[in-house]
């Protein structure tokens, strides 16, 4: 039995045309087209491109939602064992489309996916979420990319575990996998040291995590029209802590409505924080979450509106891994609700 593969390419690789034809809508073709034939050749019948989806890069960029829905519908119908997109090399919009369409297929349909592109392609931002083969920066790299992608694709279709990124040829995706090097560690260390002394290029085996910083948000010249939301890591919750937000290790976050509250009262609210003396926050929860002041500012027109929901977690530091997840989640909610400014209070 041969594994079934669906392949996604753009208008250029389908020989429809270059930039002038980038507007073409998704189209489904039988069998392999363009690079898909190179994959078939490598697979020698073990796997085969059964359908090819062609979509213009501009079309995808301008109608991402529709394009994804169409692709998903076709892929679902074809029931493939593997979905491949690209390779996109250094083509930015194509790379973006490959990465995003592959991510959609993976998350929506649970089918293994693979794409390939140049490491600096903007689509490569998703390398931790979609498996990507690093290619050259132009289509001249197809001769090397096709066998690498075909080999890795077959592995995915068979459900075999991945070897380390440098062995299987995919971009490092944050998952550490063991393998045997040719030389022992001490030898590698001495070589690396000599390269470092000579200011020659070397590759560290363990890149330090991204010390990522987020650019400061743009200033809001006129706060009198802005929707302001409150968030806190000070653990302010409704009296009785109905959601059982844990006092010492925040395992979830709270979302609470303050519609109709002109100030937080000791009768209605409290803190769930276990790390500091809760007496003062319990006596007057506005000391942690200044709803009273913001209500007044709302009336005075200093701010446009106080958002009717606030988000609360406990603890500043624990959290890091989990609080990041919580914040990602509620950031989306804030965005959807049209919040323009967030005051975060911490103890």
């Amino acid at each position: 039995m041969s594994f079934r593969v669906v392949h996604y390419i753009n208008q250029f690789f389908a020989n429809i045309g270059g930039e002038e034809m980038a507007h073409v809508a998704p189209e489904l073709r039988e069998g392999a087209v363009g690079p898909g034939m190179a994959f078939n050749q490598q697979w020698k019948g073990e796997a085969e491109v059964v359908k090819t989806i062609v979509c213009g890069d501009s079309y995808f960029a301008e109608h991402e939602k529709e394009a994804k829905e169409q692709v998903l519908a076709w892929v679902k119908e074809a029931k493939p064992d593997l979905f491949i997109a690209g390779p996109a090399f250094n083509a930015g919009r194509y790379g973006y489309a490959c990465a995003n369409v592959a991510l959609a297929v993976k998350t929506e349909l649970g089918i293994p996916v693979l794409t390939g592109m140049y490491v600096e392609n903007p689509g490569a931002d998703l390398k931790d979420k979609v498996l990507m083969v690093a290619t050259a920066n132009s289509a001249a790299g197809m001769r090397k990319a096709a066998p690498a992608m075909a080999k890795l694709g077959l592995k995915l279709a068979k459900g075999e575990p991945l070897a380390a990124s440098c062995v299987d040829g995919y971009m490092p995706n944050g998952v550490r996998v063991n393998f045997f090097e040719k030389e022992r560690g001490a030898k590698r260390a001495v070589k690396m040291l000599i390269a470092k002394i000579k200011d020659e290029a070397f590759v560290t085996e363990f890149p330090m995590p991204n010390f990522d910083r987020v650019e400061p948000g743009k200033a809001i010249p006129d706060m009198s029209k802005a929707v302001v939301a409150l968030c806190t890591s000070g653990g302010i919750v409704p009296k009785g802590n109905p959601d059982h937000i844990e006092s010492s290790s925040a395992s979830h976050y709270g979302e609470y409505d303050i519609t109709g509250w002109d100030a937080l009262t000791a009768e209605g609210w409290q803190t769930a924080h276990g790390g500091y003396d809760p007496v003062y926050a319990n006596a007057d929860p506005n000391r942690v979450l200044p709803v009273d002041v913001l209500r007044q500012m709302e009336k005075e027109g200093k701010i446009g509106k106080l958002h009717n929901k606030f988000y609360t977690t406990v603890g500043n530091g624990t959290a890091v891994a989990s609080s990041k997840k919580f914040a990602e989640e509620y950031a989306q909610k804030l965005l959807k609700d049209g919040v323009q400014a967030v005051i975060m209070t911490s103890t």
Partner: protein
Amino acid sequence: MKPGHNYRIVTNNPLVRDILGQWYEIDYSDITYREVLVKVRDLIYAGHTLFTHPLSGSVKPNETPYKSILVSKVPGTYDMDGTELMSNAIIAFDKFKQLERHYADYHLRDFQLIDYSLLCSALDVDAVAGLSKRNPS
């Protein structure tokens, strides 16, 4: 032996409580390893200084139930390095798979002993001599 005037030992290890409690202020409670980390982190937030590394010992955090950490008795200047160490320790703890393990009493005693001796090394206490002075409580 380091003088105890500015030390507080946060621990869930009864052996540490019974022996080192004779000379040092002990904050003992019957809580989990992770809860000890969180408790100390919150003390550091509140201004206490961290004196020992929270991940002392090569016994991995998902193996031993015991953890003892030395902090200052009184809060003072905010200890930023300590905060970072505690946060990283909690992250490190969370990455270990929580294993289902069945401990016999002698395992627990050994784990207590190791944790105790790690802390002794920080306090310049002769761990062996200390054992013979165990408070019978």
